[in-house]
């Protein structure tokens, strides 16, 4: 069996769908944050795959995946600061309880 670009892209799609499932179903804000990280990793895997199979001279996809990692670190830092802030104010982190901005 030969591993082609289709296998890597299918794995990336599967990880993306797992992340979306966690994002929709879980009510805990930490799990939602971790699901977002899984989705970002799926996108990164697709970028690196395309860099390997489509652009072996200038690996631009690898550079973009490094940028995605930096932005994911920023997103995790801000997200966790907000979550800890909400936890200190409300003493819970359920997604359903963050409804004060709903009209």
């Amino acid at each position: 069996m030969d591993i082609t670009i289709n296998h890597y892209l299918t794995l990336s799609a599967l990880l993306l769908c797992v992340g979306i499932y966690g994002l929709i179903t879980r009510n805990n804000a930490f799990r939602v944050l971790m699901s977002i990280e899984v989705m970002l990793n799926a996108a990164n895997l697709a970028f690196v795959t395309f860099a390997h199979y489509m652009d072996p001279l200038e690996v631009k996809g690898q550079i973009i995946s490094l940028f995605v990692m930096a932005i994911a670190a920023a997103e995790a830092a801000i997200g966790l600061a907000l979550l800890l802030l909400i936890y200190r104010n409300r003493l819970n982190i359920k997604m359903d309880s963050f409804t004060s901005m709903k009209w």
């Binding site: 296998h7 200038e58 801000i78 104010n89």
Partner: protein, 197 residues
Amino acid sequence: MELLSEFRHIPFLLLATASVVCSLGMIFNPNLVRAGFTLIGAFVAIAGLYFMLNANFVAISQILIYAVGIVLVIIFAIMLCSLKETVNDISNEEQDVNLDIHTRRVTALIVCAGLFALLVYVINSQDWNAIAVITGAEMHTTILEQFSRHYTEQIGNLMLSKYLIPFELISILLLLVLVGVIILSKKQLDTVEENKA
């Protein structure tokens, strides 16, 4: 790191299974802290896949930034808010009468299965070899043999020439995030002191 091509599918299948199982474990593990630790397993497996794709620098960055940096910080944050109901969140969700959890799960399953089917259809209907010819990657193996050991150098050169502006923007973004996180935490400390006074 160049593996024999006949045996190349074995590490791929192992790493792919590990990443998907660990991601599912992150979603379905009843204990929130353990869910965080399974996520580390998923990220390490994906780093192994990057090694197989000859992206050594990205693989090491994945382990350093994701597996050790981001996930450990998330686990610390989980431990800082570790109420019992927070740690065992899934069983609490099922007991919650106000939350229509089953409808939500079925809808999410349908959406995800549909999206996955669509993506697989698109991936398999595409003629990737023709696209590789257009992008000039058809001399795949020979070019790989020449360049696979110089990818880190290539990344460094491109980041300081062609991708210099995004690179600098990322550094500004990280600085802003640092300041923003400090402001978010500090404001809260002030109000706590006011409440005490």
